[in-house]
Symmetry: C2
Subunit: 467 residues, 2 copies
């Protein structure tokens, strides 16, 4: 009996070792294919340089949807389709302008000298979803506050002013997404919290630690309890300059922005499917979002996630992989200012009634991969952890708890689907996030490709072993 | 007795926990100081933009030495000095020129059409230490070989030709230093191995997977058994173009290079010392190399290592750290084409007779930190490993066997000093390595600073606990 047990154990051990070798060899094959014949970089060049910005409702959105559908077909999808959803249609409506001036009183004119920054241009950009100033603009004194606490302290001074939130991006976090979460509340809540006390408009320090002066946009959220007021982000150098002037002078800023909503319009998730041979009704989803802000090429955010998604499909096909389960490659609509694509995808998945066993998202830039994040049951997490040594040689040396993405969140909420994320290095992301510097040139070919390699490895393992 | 033992164990446990908390807090303090008040980035700007290239023997070398000495003093070194060493003095001697032409025979002239690339400029750069072509240049037919094996097969065809080593940088290695080691032999040995069979000159495909056409220089090593022949590196696009032409045509290349050695001259290691309070005769060395190739700003290679080194000194002083052991901050001379600085440092250390307990080098670019490498005894490695959890939150999540650097190698060989290296992410390094694109703009402020943070943490731990 003992001998039999031992033999069985040895046999099981041998099978495990064999399986690991097979998995390791497969992942190497995927990696070699992507690093040698990869198309992600050239696809990204096309998306960013030939199509460019693609905010929900824009002509760029329509072009990018067509591009995505065609590429899914060319890359070998068994089936590719557009999943319709209504998307919000916010437009900037023209160039955002801000000029700072110290306007001397008549009595002061005789005294001189005066500050020399009358009508100094500030580099600003209206926040997404914000209202415009009206054609006459808004010209008011600036009240700087460094935090919401300071806003509360100075609430009696707010009325009629332009509130300038100069909250600094925290340099001491190593993971810059923590700094973003920390500072992001000023972009999200700042306008309404200032409007509560009668502010006329808001200027927010850009959520970045870049060394340049590019302003960073992003969605704001008005609280319906208060008047909607215009809001812009300002570049870091101009924020520092403005703050410096305010130490000794009263500064007026003239703002002119033109943001407004047009009626909701039709957008689409772009979906390619690679049908499973054994369990076609078990679905693994991988995706990024196709929309970008209107002021940039959206190369890292999230062109990278889109071309990585398609690259995994292309590479699987190129090496002749036959998945057991169905894999869906998705370019989600409208992540930036509505999440209508992610919501629609979950809604349709629920209707369809198939089993969604995992969703993976890449939406943290096309930088060098460092970790895979995972959200699921403890048992599932343990299984996920067991694959770490297989994936680590390709860059994701850490397998961490907590993973997902805005677009796959709804799937998790409605169907309890476990979610995972590619976590690339975060140091450079907020240099370019939602700014005009988020361009193709900021993406490195190999870093982009390695992101696809690591996600492909995870998808292969989940496809093979289930979850 | 049991109770006493238990009490002792608990006590020891409490001390360990307390020490870990103290270490963790100290490392956070160092990190906050460097990420908030860091000067490394601005120092690098000065070194690259105001001084620029600084090959051994060049005016840039002299300027950078003075800069380094002054900065060591300003950053708080108890003592700073220049350690003299003779350095080789190779000069490029002018612009390297290569033109490719298909020279039709007289009989062919009547037939036409002819290839249109007569006198097409190729982007080349002479290899470091290589001889020049002479003022008349060398104009010969090109023989392409893709490997040394192919050279051996074609050895009878080599005589009188320009041998073109078109060995490709291997894309499938994840760690690009493996690709570099693999391809690097063609730069190092290629000229002499071709000269052995009578080649007139050598063109080497650049050791890079960049998407641009910048040629990458670097030292070659002549084998004294064979004639020295001129050698250049060629940009990747031109290498592909040349290779494509050679499929259907005989191509002549006219080369003109002017490299030559002037007599050895005086260079210096720049050393700053922070004197230990308890064991001043135990030395920890940290450094990078101050020299760079002449065709670039040497921002990543190795301006980054130099300014990180000085930043650790500055930050230790700024937070009031009092080391137990002496720490030496070293900018080494002449790493690129002679290693005279590293050799001199080891020689002087041996004479001085103090105990060198660790040497750390940063010479793999100022990219985001990923690992610390270590070479020492097994016992020392275990101690090194025990610190991993303290350092990992700052980026070096891997502690790996094998660490050091060219400049600290001699110290290891003469005094058996354990050596360590900062291993940043490798994906971007060979895009810019030894090419004109190794400029300040290619360095990210936070990535650079985090390198200093991780090395500072290691130095603190070795200083506190010994090794």
């Amino acid at each position: 009996m003992r001998k039999l047990l031992l033999a069985l154990l040895l046999c099981a051990g041998a099978i495990t070792v064999f399986a690991q070798k097979e998995d390791s060899a497969f992942i190497k094959k995927i990696s070699d294919e992507i690093l040698t014949n990869g198309k992600a970089y050239e696809n990204l060049r096309h998306l960013t340089k030939k199509i460019g910005a693609r905010l929900a409702g824009s002509p760029g959105m329509v072009k990018s949807e067509q591009w995505g559908l065609k590429l899914m077909q060319e890359s070998g999808a068994d089936k590719a389709w557009m999943q319709e959803c209504m998307v919000p249609h916010w437009v900037r409506g023209g160039k955002d302008v801000a000029k700072a001036g110290y306007i001397p009183l008549r009595s002061e004119v005789k005294k001189g000298p005066y500050p020399t920054f009358i009508n100094k241009d500030l580099d600003v950009i209206a926040l997404g979803n914000s209202i415009g100033t009206g054609k006459n603009g808004i010209s008011e004194s600036v009240l700087q506050v460094n935090s919401f606490d300071e806003l509360e302290q100075k609430k009696d001074l707010v009325k009629g002013k332009i509130v300038f939130y100069n909250y600094k991006f925290n340099d001491t976090y190593i993971n810059t997404f923590l700094s973003y979460r920390d500072a992001g509340q000023y972009r999200g809540q700042g306008p309404s919290r200032a409007a509560k006390y009668g502010a006329k408009a808001v200027i927010v320090r850009s959520m970045s630690h870049a060394a340049d002066n590019n302003p960073h946009t992003g969605a704001t959220r008005y609280d319906s309890a208060y008047t909607k007021i215009p809001a812009v982000a300002i570049g870091l150098r101009d924020a520092d300059w403005l703050s410096e002037q305010l130490k000794t002078a009263e500064v007026k800023v003239s703002l002119k922005t033109n943001g407004h909503f047009l009626p909701d319009t039709i957008g689409h998730n772009i979906i390619g499917e690679f049908r499973g041979s054994e369990f076609p009704d078990e679905i693994i989803t991988v995706g990024g979002h196709l929309d970008s802000w209107d002021n940039c090429e959206g190369a890292h955010d999230d062109g990278a996630g889109c071309v990585q998604t398609i690259e995994i499909l292309r590479a699987f096909k190129a090496i002749g992989y036959k998945p057991k389960r169905s894999i869906r490659f998705v370019l989600f609509a409208n992540e930036e200012n509505g999440l209508r694509g992610g919501n629609k995808y979950a809604e349709e998945a629920q209707k369809e009634g198939k089993k969604h066993i995992l969703a993976v998202e890449s939406d943290a830039g096309g930088f060098t991969p460092r970790a895979l994040g995972f959200s699921g049951s403890d048992e599932q997490f343990q299984q996920f952890l067991s694959w770490k040594e297989l994936v680590a040689p390709y860059g994701c040396t850490e397998f961490v708890k907590g993973g997902g993405g805005a677009d796959i969140g709804p799937l998790n909420r409605t169907l309890k689907t476990p979610t995972a994320s590619l976590n690339p290095d975060t140091q450079r992301y907020f240099d370019i996030h939602h700014a005009r510097s988020d361009v193709f040139e900021a993406v490195n070919k190999r870093e982009l490709e390695l992101g696809a390699v690591n996600m492909a490895a995870l998808i292969y393992l989940v496809d093979k072993y289930g979850l």
